[in-house]
Symmetry: C2
Subunit: 108 residues, 2 copies
């Protein structure tokens, strides 16, 4: 998949506040099953399921099946295209701005 397409997918996926809230909650919890995410959510179970699919398709979360539960966790590499892209604009910020692109590669 082209890099620009991946970036578009990541941006589109995170742009929706409800979906981003799901992502943030997974990040806070470390690992959480879909059921847990539905509880305390403003939207229905299918809506959460659809958001999880979008997050997975964008490479932003990974899942681990345990019996009938599916536990979700953040997939840090999914943010890669975004970090890379922002890296192109780091000079707009400051010379002391870390080279995100390099750090990303080192952390693999």
């Amino acid at each position: 998949m082209p890099v620009a397409t991946q970036l578009t997918d990541v941006l589109k996926t995170l742009a929706d506040p409800t979906r981003r809230a799901v992502f943030e909650r997974i990040a806070r919890e470390g690992e959480i099953a879909a059921t847990g995410l539905v509880q305390g959510s403003k939207v229905s179970q299918p809506a959460v399921s659809q958001h999880l699919r979008a997050l997975r398709d964008a490479g932003l979360v990974a899942e681990r099946r345990e019996g009938r539960h599916i536990h979700y966790r953040i997939a840090p590499k999914g943010l890669g295209p975004l970090i890379d892209w922002l890296g192109h604009y780091e000079t707009f910020w400051t010379e002391r701005f870390a080279n995100l692109e390099r750090l990303l590669k080192e952390s693999e």
Copy 2:
């Protein structure tokens, strides 16, 4: 405006490939008038104008009028909400990942 709303606006604005291409072109050129952006664009003048409005509303570009031309340039601070938000996930990458949030504030 709430922080989450600003972030949503920035993400939504950058998520569209055509609009992001406009942003990237402005960044490459340093400063460029709307006319210049329309030339070599796949979309019409009104479409470019609408994208420029969206970018301005999101705080991602600034403009400078010179006669009947309006010159656009990147507004680095517009990326702030995105940098801040990503900063919350830096620990997912590496401890050596720079503290983007702090650097952002220092660069003001």
